[in-house]
């Protein structure tokens, strides 16, 4: 069986989303970001909203999101994406505005902006990649790092007595009246990817329909930061992270 047979139309089950361009991604092989970028691009295209979508990228591994998905983007200062998105949406109420943030950006330095944007019920969608580590800076402890998990800034493992427990920020956000959707998903299996895509679509639809703030947390793997190969990282994630961060809807109005 040669390459042509393998990539013929009859065997095609997946194509590169139209809005994802040919720029070589900087993400490590096995990283969840690539999958979620593709989902975001597919959903925007399926909704036909490429011309009215503005994305806000974070500081962290997704700082270069604008290079890969062909929509208008603003890259925000570390943690401030929800504030940036707030203004974009308030000033352009007919646009679909979303942020794309990691755990350090959203749940550490940007906690205040996240909570207050959600509490105001800003009509934005927040895509939250939770991989329990700072990937961009080389594997330091994140607010979502699991207890006993080893990182470069907790080399003996996270000790909750000194460093606190993994922050379940989406559980907190679900309590706020401004939030219409708070859901936790993952992308480690084909079924999970499909479910995550459905929730991203719902979040984007909510933002456009001015229903309030939608948060889609994606429990993700960072095989490079975790010092594992991609397969082991996926397995480790399923075995260890999902018990602390169980998938499912925390709120879906």
């Amino acid at each position: 069986m040669d390459k042509n047979e393998l990539t013929g139309a009859e065997t095609l089950v997946y194509a590169k989303p139209r809005l994802v361009n040919d720029t070589e991604m900087h993400y490590c092989p096995g990283c969840s970001h690539g999958v979620v970028h593709h989902l975001v691009a597919e959903v925007i295209d399926e909704l036909g909203w490429a011309e009215k979508t503005i994305g806000v990228s974070p500081v962290g591994c997704a700082v270069f999101a604008h290079k890969y998905v062909d929509i208008d983007w603003q890259q925000a200062a570390h943690g401030r994406a929800p504030a940036v998105a707030t203004a974009i949406k308030r000033l352009n109420p007919d646009k679909m505005v979303f942020t794309y943030q990691g755990d350090g950006d959203l749940a550490a330095i940007g906690t205040a902006e996240t909570i207050h944007a959600a509490n105001r019920g800003e009509n934005i969608a927040i895509i939250f990649i939770n991989n329990a580590i700072y990937g961009m800076t080389g594997g330091q402890m994140a607010p979502t790092t699991l207890n006993q998990m080893v990182t470069t800034t907790c080399p003996e493992g996270r000790d909750p007595r000194i460093m606190g427990n993994p922050l379940k920020i989406v559980d907190m956000l679900a309590l706020l009246d401004g939030v219409c959707l708070a859901t936790r998903q993952s992308v480690h299996t084909a079924a999970a990817v499909k479910k995550t895509k459905r929730m991203i679509k719902l979040a984007f639809e909510n933002a456009m329909a001015n229903k309030g703030t939608s948060i889609v947390e994606v429990v993700s793997s960072c095989n490079a930061g975790w010092r594992m190969n991609p397969v082991d990282a996926n397995n480790w994630m399923a075995e260890n992270m999902l018990s602390v961060f169980p998938v499912g809807d925390l709120k879906n109005l």
Binding site: E51, D72, V84, A87, E113
Partner: protein, 358 residues
């Protein structure tokens, strides 16, 4: 009809002028002595008339990043704060300058350092004109000395910001912010439509259209040689601003033996000192920088060979005096008189200090 004379505070004048300019958004956080700006805007409720958005943010950090987001869409957006709050905004201001985003910033200064005092001061001169935030950037800095100029500099600040795609700052203090004077408010201008913004600001992130590539706003460049190019571009723009936008006022400078150099509220005080000095037969003039950056170095250099001495008067420990000395370049003595921590000198205090110099 809309051009009427009113009596109001400097802070209120800024709010009225912003609505009348056709500003799209204000994002702020309360802090004394400038809270009248957001309070007046909330009372004016321009979202019901012009469509301008007014938001009280959860912090100065959020407010300045809202300005970043709005400015990135090509909208005419602004924020205001006072010294300690302005320090919090500095990271965002650096991003805004790096992103080449037009916007209007207002700092109604109070005494520092630290939480300081709510009384007036001019001790954020360094922070504003020398940096404040990180990196090689500059802020167009306008220093009003009357309620009228508070109103007028809103339009001037926005216009310069859009002309050069760079943030403008109105640097004022609790004296000008809180005092009431007659003011002629500007005519109402219509807010720009999205179509007009897309035309004026083709870089704005308003959603890509089929006729253009996606717009993205970023201040990050991993390749140092490209980052250097970005910096060179910024510096070329700053040079152009320095060549075109210097503003100052000369009061009785022509025959002066001594010059007072002061901005904002200190200049207002010095205006009276000039009268007092002249009444005593002393030939004293006032040179008032209106733009603190770009700084009016050339005119000061010109007077350096004409007058016997200069006294800079500031509500700080001596900040602008450094730029005056640089401009004069040792040709003659330049002394400083200042009060600190919220104390405002009287014209007599200034005259006394001037006489010591003479």
């Amino acid at each position: 009809m809309s051009e009427e004379i009113s009596l109001m505070k400097g802070n209120e004048a800024i709010a009225h002028a912003a609505v009348r300019y056709g500003a799209d958004g204000y994002f702020g956080y309360p802090i004394t002595p400038q809270s009248e700006i957001i309070e007046t805007l909330m009372e004016l409720a321009p979202w019901k008339t012009t469509g301008m958005i007014v938001m009280q943010a959860e912090s100065e950090l959020a407010a300045i990043n809202m300005v970043y987001g709005g400015a990135g869409c090509g909208k005419a957006v602004m924020t205001s704060s006072s010294s300690t709050g302005m320090s919090l905004k500095m990271e965002g201001i650096s991003y805004i300058a790096a992103g080449e985003l037009p916007c209007l910033l207002v700092n109604v200064m109070r005494g520092g350092p630290g939480l300081g005092t709510i009384q007036p001061s001019q001790s954020d001169y360094f922070q504003t004109v020398k940096g404040g935030g990180h990196g090689d950037y500059r802020l167009i800095t306008l220093a009003p000395y009357s309620v009228q100029e508070m109103a007028d500099f809103v339009a001037l600040g926005f216009d310069l910001a859009f002309k050069y795609r760079t943030p403008s700052m109105i640097l004022t203090d609790g004296v000008i912010g809180q005092m009431m004077e007659k003011v002629r408010l500007p005519e109402f201008k219509r807010r720009r439509s999205e179509e007009e913004i897309r035309k004026q600001c083709p870089w704005a992130t308003l959603g890509r259209t089929p006729d253009r590539a996606p717009n993205f706003l970023t201040t990050l460049e991993m390749d140092s040689s490209l980052m250097e190019q970005r910096n060179i571009h910024l510096q070329a723009k700053y040079k152009e601003i320095q060549q075109n936008e210097v503003r100052y006022q000369e009061v009785l400078c022509d025959d002066a033996d001594y010059l007072l150099v002061a901005f904002g509220s200190a200049a207002r005080i010095c205006l009276k000192t000039v009268d007092l000095a002249r009444a005593e037969g002393l030939k004293v003039g006032l040179l008032r920088p209106i733009t603190l950056w770009p700084f009016p170095s050339e005119i000061l250099e010109k007077y350096a060979s004409k007058v016997k001495g200069m006294l800079t008067v500031e509500l700080n420990a001596g900040q602008m005096v450094e730029d005056v000395r640089l401009a004069v370049n040792g040709k003659m003595p330049v002394e400083h008189y200042g009060r600190l921590g919220g104390i405002v000198p009287t014209p007599d205090h200034v005259l006394e200090a001037l006489k010591k110099l003479i």
